[in-house]
């Protein structure tokens, strides 16, 4: 993006590599997805920021949770998230994943997304505007630079608790744990 960052390229080539190529997994989880097509097409053109939607989670390292998350979708989100290779970043869109939003009293949507998977950034708004998505991406860059976007590490380390929360909601999950369930620290 800017020439001044060439130094950084040499320092931490891996970071720069994934920082400027945040590929988003193609998953329309909620109503916020309506602002994603404008963002990835010609008017706003997210490719300038290195954000492109990709077909499978295996290729992606950015997960946009676009809006409210119903129970059924949460299961799919967890599976998709676990399929994504490290390093991976999650961004919560709009009010709903933060504190329930409009659906704070719905029996079928979860209220706090970060109880089930780690989230690296939140965007306010209902809908967030395309501009907000871009600023979120730049914020994510900064966080990657500073080593603050550590959601995936947290997921690995605290996997036991995440899995517990998930199972509190769904009962026994059909797939085996991604990481060992024992607490490393005892």
């Amino acid at each position: 993006m800017d020439r001044t960052s060439i130094k950084k390229w040499f320092k931490a080539p891996d970071k720069m590599g994934h920082k400027y190529s945040l590929w988003a997994v193609y998953f329309c989880t909620g109503c916020g997805i309506i602002e994603v097509p404008p963002v990835i097409t010609s008017r706003w053109d997210a490719e300038r920021f290195g954000v492109i939607p990709v077909a499978t989670p295996r290729q992606a390292n950015l997960f946009l949770i676009t809006g409210y998350v119903s129970l059924k979708t949460l299961k799919a989100i967890i599976r998709t998230y676990e399929l994504m290779p490290d390093p991976k970043y999650t961004v919560g869109f709009g009010s709903c994943p933060i504190n329930g939003g409009m659906y704070w009293d719905s029996y079928n949507t979860i209220k706090h997304l970060d109880k089930y998977i780690p989230v690296d950034g939140w965007i306010s708004g209902c809908m967030p505007r395309p501009e907000a998505i871009f600023i979120a991406v730049t914020h994510l860059w900064t966080m990657i630079d500073k080593g603050m976007a550590t959601g995936y590490i947290k997921y690995r380390e605290k996997y036991r608790y995440y899995r517990q929360n998930q199972e509190k909601l769904f009962g026994k999950l059909e797939w085996p744990p991604l990481y060992p369930m024992e607490d490393k620290n005892g």
């Binding site: 010609s42 504190n99 329930g100 871009f134």
Partner: protein, 623 residues
């Protein structure tokens, strides 16, 4: 459309026309280098003008997502009728619908055009909305602002978006007009000026209430206003009256002459007209023919304790009512031939007819309260005897002696109370053709308007004048705006800012009033201490002068040895404790001799407090 059914297969080459777009200006907005301003109506984060906000909490009530909580701000010193609470918005809930903006009665809550807040911590998504006026650190000026800095913590100044508009607000800013007799007609007789709401009008007016309950805090007696208004809206006047009677047993009187502190607090009054709370109370009492049947309240079992109430004014009546419900034996003494006290003689007939007073008094009497009218304590019955024979005494004597200006020849002037009393329940007064009323308070307005009516009745068709002289200028005139407007409409002339110097008398007849210009009314400490320009004089012609500059209480009935024990505050009010008890044993007091508000509803509030105190005292729980 013509080729509707036939299907064109189309060419393969034609699409290459699109190549021309290669040479056109790209449609891409090169954000963030190229920015797009949000529209002028954009619904972004909240702004709240803390100076205008009343803390009514309507925004929190209307929010479909319960995103708004009212947070108490200790630094804010609320004015009367306001709360020191301000809305706090949770952007983990907010859906930016703007309902809170459309319901905000003072119009302080608005939405800005800021919308960027991106953070890794979901705890940062709450905002105590505040305006740039009061909050300098969070609003960056244009040159300091950048989109990368934009967040809930740093926003742009003067970036107002979706704002409240009275035309599209969710509340109705205008009152249902009260049917009134027009001024040119009402000066000719003593018929009641305000006609009262019809059922539809009352319901429509009751519908306006937003139930924010600011009025209930402002009312001295803390009536459950929102509840009784809701009952009126639901077409249940009985229920409404029951709610009123919990705190105020004289709704027919209060519904007409109350000073309506509640309406001054009403949040709708900030940009529109307040809910007509007083008229709705009046409607509730007028709609119910028989209080007893509607309320169905019976006094508790008799306790055998006897309480004497001196003065059958609003306070006395209320004490009698509340204590009677608790089962005590109540006797009310009053020198007038009927109940109501000052209400009976003060407010002219066009404001408060005798029937309305009697409606309330008769109901209280029907509960078993004994009334001894035409009984002047100290003359017909001695205070010592009462003091001996009763278990507790309530002094609700009010202020019954008109103050005099004490200028030269002031003995030729008519005292206001006498004037009012004679007209309302006495023989009537012969007024002059040119009447001068000294005073700028509500009593002065009553006197002036009444004098004007009498002039019209006594000198039909002739040219008559009533003028008032008051020390206070327009802005500090103590009378309510309503009264002043009504008086003006009827033709009363005003001379604000003049003080009386001398009443000119020739051959024993009043010729007029010599006035001098007022320099200031209050001194530096805010106490009443008028000063004058002695040389600036004005002469008002007139053949009758009425003094309406205030009243004082009359304690002459209390024997000296008891009176000496009665303690007073520095402002010459009877000192009472939190139970309404005076320094005299078993004597309680309330009303105008205690408080500074000098109105009926404060007297009721005092009475309620004293009634609780007397009840505790009689049960032996109070020493």
């Amino acid at each position: 459309m013509k080729e509707k059914s036939e299907v064109k297969k189309g060419s393969v080459l034609k699409p290459f026309k699109a190549i021309k777009y290669l040479f056109e200006k790209p449609g891409t907005l090169r954000y963030p280098f190229e920015q797009k301003e949000p529209s002028p109506r954009y619904r972004g984060f909240h702004l709240n003008d803390w100076d205008k906000c009343t803390g009514c909490g309507n925004c929190a009530d209307i929010c479909p997502n319960q995103a708004i909580t009212m947070v108490e701000i200790p630094e804010i010193k609320p004015k009367t009728g306001e709360k020191n609470e301000r809305p706090k918005i949770d952007y983990g809930r907010c859906c930016f619908c703007g309902l809170c903006v459309d319901i905000c009665p003072p119009g302080s809550l608005r939405l800005s055009r800021d919308y960027l807040h991106i953070h890794f911590d979901p705890g940062t998504f709450t905002l105590l909305a505040k305006d740039e006026k009061t909050d300098k650190e969070h609003f960056l000026p244009e040159e300091k602002y950048s989109i990368f800095q934009a967040s809930l913590a740093h926003r742009k100044t003067d970036n107002e978006g979706f704002v409240s508009d009275l035309k599209y607000s969710l509340f109705e800013p205008e009152r249902v007009p009260m049917p009134e007799v027009p001024p040119e007609k009402r000066v000719l007789s003593f018929m009641e000026q305000v006609l009262g709401y019809s059922r539809e009008e009352a319901k429509k007016e009751a519908l306006r209430c937003l139930e924010c309950k600011l009025c209930e805090d402002a009312c001295p007696a803390h009536l459950k206003i929102s509840e009784y208004i809701k009952a009126i809206y639901e077409d249940k006047p009985d229920e409404s009256l029951r709610k009123i009677f919990e705190d105020n047993p004289i709704p027919a009187i209060c519904g007409r002459i109350c000073m309506a502190h509640c309406e001054k607090a009403c949040s709708l009054g900030k940009r529109g007209e307040p809910v007509a709370i007083r008229w709705l109370k009046r409607y509730a009492s007028d709609m119910v023919e028989d209080y007893k049947k509607a309320l169905g309240v019976k006094p508790a079992k008799s306790t055998g304790k006897k309480v004497a109430v001196i003065g059958a004014g609003p306070g006395g009546l209320s004490v009698a009512y509340f204590l009677r419900l608790k089962g005590h034996e109540i006797t009310v003494f009053d020198s007038l031939p009927g109940g109501g006290g000052m209400m009976r003689i003060g407010p002219p007939l066009y404001r408060l007819p005798i029937e309305s007073i009697d409606k309330d008094v008769n109901y209280i009497a029907s509960l078993g309260v004994k009334f001894k009218f035409n009984t002047t304590v100290g003359k017909d019955i001695l205070f010592e005897d009462i003091y001996k024979n009763y278990d507790a005494i309530y002094l609700g004597i009010g202020t019954t002696v008109s103050r005099s200006t004490r200028v030269k020849n002031s003995d030729k002037a008519y005292p206001a109370l006498l004037f009012l009393k004679e007209n309302k329940i006495g023989k009537g007064v012969k007024v002059g053709r040119e009447v001068i009323v000294i005073g700028g308070g509500n009593v002065a307005m009553d006197v002036a308007r009444e004098a004007l009516r009498l002039q019209h009745i006594q000198y039909p068709g002739e040219k008559v004048v009533t003028k008032t002289v008051s020390l206070e200028d327009w802005d500090i005139m103590p009378a309510t705006k309503e009264e002043i407007e009504d008086a003006k409409a009827e033709g009363v002339q005003f001379n604000p800012g003049w003080g009386p110097k001398e009443i000119k008398v020739e051959d024993g007849k009043v010729k007029g009033l010599l006035c001098m210009k007022v320099k200031s009314v209050f001194d530096e400490q805010g106490r009443f201490n008028p000063t004058f320009y002695e040389d600036k004089e004005m002469f008002l012609e007139g053949d009758m002068v009425i003094e309406a500059i205030g009243q004082a209480p009359d304690f002459s009935f209390i024997p000296k040895e008891l009176f000496d024990k009665l303690e007073f505050t520095p402002r010459r009010k009877v000192k009472v404790d939190e139970n309404g008890k005076t320094s005299l044993p078993k004597v309680f007091a309330g009303g105008d001799i205690v408080n500074l508000n000098l109105d009926a509803v404060t007297a009721i509030a005092d009475a309620k407090r004293a009634a609780e105190g007397i009840d505790l005292y009689l049960k032996g729980k109070l020493k």
